[in-house]
């Protein structure tokens, strides 16, 4: 057979970004420790999904926000090389700065137009302390911000569901409520497997003209984890 024409081939990049709340309130009742261990435990499951979807190149990053926002893991890393170092809790809840930090990285470039829709997983236990509306508007001003699969996990009873719902921007998806460590593990596992699988192989969707809805269909989450409070709730 003749030499293959064209340039180098590559699977399509799939960016997955953890956006974690590291405000002082996350120090209460072991929330931040639970978050650290839940993400760490989810990584092997993410690796399994990546192996099952070789046409998606899974790349992980993480943003931590408290007093400001910073990249906890700045460079997009293959899941096989990704290591989760514990985040610590202290300070305010500058969620708006986290939105802006992510928005800056969703521009084209550095993002490629051939990428798969990125996944943004937001975890928070409280109310934003900064101008989150402007930050969210900046995120949604980016084409990849609009097209991203945006998932939110509310940790504890004080999380601001209204803000998290605005971030999700999809009336069919609600924030996942975690009132205890087990629920947090379950939700993070769901994001790391079910959501990631859907984002890895999205079928072509007819553009519906909606300015904010993602094109990736997410199966329903486990309702057991988002139900009313129970005796095991500690947050």
């Amino acid at each position: 057979m003749a030499n293959r024409p064209g340039g180098a081939m590559a699977s399509r990049p799939l960016h997955f970004i953890w956006m974690v709340d590291c405000s002082g309130s996350m120090a209460a009742d072991g929330k931040v420790q639970s978050l650290n261990s839940a993400i760490r435990e989810a990584l092997p499951h993410m690796a399994d999904v990546a192996r099952e979807n070789p046409n998606a190149e899974l790349l992980l990053r993480a943003v931590a926000f408290s007093n400001g926002a910073r990249w906890h893991v700045a460079n997009p890393m293959p899941v096989s090389e990704f290591r989760w170092d514990d985040v610590e809790a202290a300070g305010m809840t500058d969620m708006g700065k986290a939105f802006r930090t992510v928005a800056d990285q969703l521009r084209v470039p550095p993002m490629s137009e051939r990428a798969l829709p990125p996944v943004l997983a937001l975890l928070s236990d409280g109310q934003p302390s900064d101008d989150w509306q402007t930050g969210l508007a900046e995120l949604m001003a980016q084409p990849w911000g609009k097209k991203a699969v945006r998932i939110a996990i509310a940790i504890g009873a004080d999380a601001d569901h209204d803000v998290l719902s605005r971030f999700i921007g999809n009336p069919e998806l609600r924030p996942l409520q975690a009132n205890n460590p087990e629920a947090l593990v379950r939700h993070i596992r769901w994001v790391s497997t079910v959501v990631l699988q859907s984002a890895s192989a999205p079928g072509t969707q007819q553009a519906d003209g909606s300015p904010i809805t993602s094109n990736v269909v997410i199966p329903p989450s486990d309702p057991a984890g988002s139900g009313p409070t129970s005796a095991t709730d500690v947050w």
Partner: protein
């Protein structure tokens, strides 16, 4: 999942002075559960509307009039014909409970409601069409995919304008209301007719790390054809597409290559016959 692409080349012999090439890509979403039929009907519709212009006894409008018709009339007629064919198929084979159950299972009850409100969703497809006449090329496109032209110097470009709505896995579609408005078009006139055309569903371009690497495909094939390696192109194309799907996007990939034979190009004949090649990737999307 079946391959959801379809194509038609007229004349089927693959060699002629004038030709029509059409490729369609059925949407892969759960809502478009009959899109492999929708794509077949899309190329059939393009053939029904544009094919008669190839007839020897056709009283064909002049190039200027054809360009005007490409603005609105052809897109409207293609969409109308596609919808008629879908209606026919749906009348013969109404949606069954199995299809509804699979859809609801994958996307919930709201997905079923969406398809009930617009049954064309189930057949959703894109379309690329190139009508290649002696004195005019017309290129029509709705949705994603690529039409790439190559000039005598080997430079490759996309003659059809882009569409910002096509980011990620979203595409415009024959299934949308007023779909004819979403057609993009371009034309070429002698002496600026390209030496070679590559038409491909979006899985091909998405398989390359850089867009330049995809455009290079057309330039490289042009180089091979110009160097007398047309048979190698014909033999290799199927394998190249399979490689693209497996090593790149994982999507269905269908491509058609149309070129003028070298000796005719050198003579700069305005009646240069076109040599056609088409190949459909056997890869099934998983």
């Amino acid at each position: 999942m079946p391959n959801q692409d379809a194509f038609v080349i007229t004349p089927a012999s693959g060699e002629a002075e004038e030709a029509l090439v059409a490729l369609a890509d059925g949407h892969g979403s759960a809502k478009s559960f009959r899109s492999e039929v929708g794509s077949r009907l899309a190329v059939e519709a393009a053939h029904t509307v544009l094919g008669p212009l190839l007839e020897p006894r056709c009283d064909r409008p002049d190039p200027s009039a054809l360009r005007d018709m490409a603005e609105e009339r052809f897109p409207r007629e293609i969409v109308r014909e596609w919808r008629r064919l879908v209606d026919e198929d749906l009348a013969a084979r109404p949606f069954d409970e199995g299809e509804w159950e699979r859809l609801s299972g994958r996307e919930g009850a709201s997905a079923r409601q969406a398809v009930e409100q617009n049954p064309y969703h189930a057949y959703g497809a894109t379309l690329l069409a190139a009508l290649l006449l002696r004195d005019l090329h017309l290129y029509l496109q709705i949705g994603d995919g690529d039409i790439v032209a190559v000039g005598a110097d080997g430079a490759a470009w996309r003659p059809v304008p882009g569409d910002v709505r096509l980011l990620a896995n979203a595409t415009t579609s024959l299934a949308r209301n007023d779909a004819w408005r979403d057609f993009r078009r371009a034309h070429a006139l002698p002496p600026s007719l390209p030496d070679l055309l590559l038409l491909a569903t979006d899985g091909y371009a998405n398989s390359f790390a850089e867009d330049a690497g995809f455009l290079q495909v057309a330039s490289d094939i042009h180089g091979m054809a110009s160097g007398g390696e047309w048979d190698e192109v014909a033999a290799g194309l199927g394998g190249w597409l399979t490689d693209a799907s497996s090593q790149g996007s994982g999507d269905d990939v269908t491509a058609a290559v149309v070129t003028r034979p070298v000796e005719r190009r050198l003579r700069r004949s305005r009646r240069a016959p076109w040599l056609h090649l088409r190949c459909k990737c056997p890869v099934r999307r998983v």
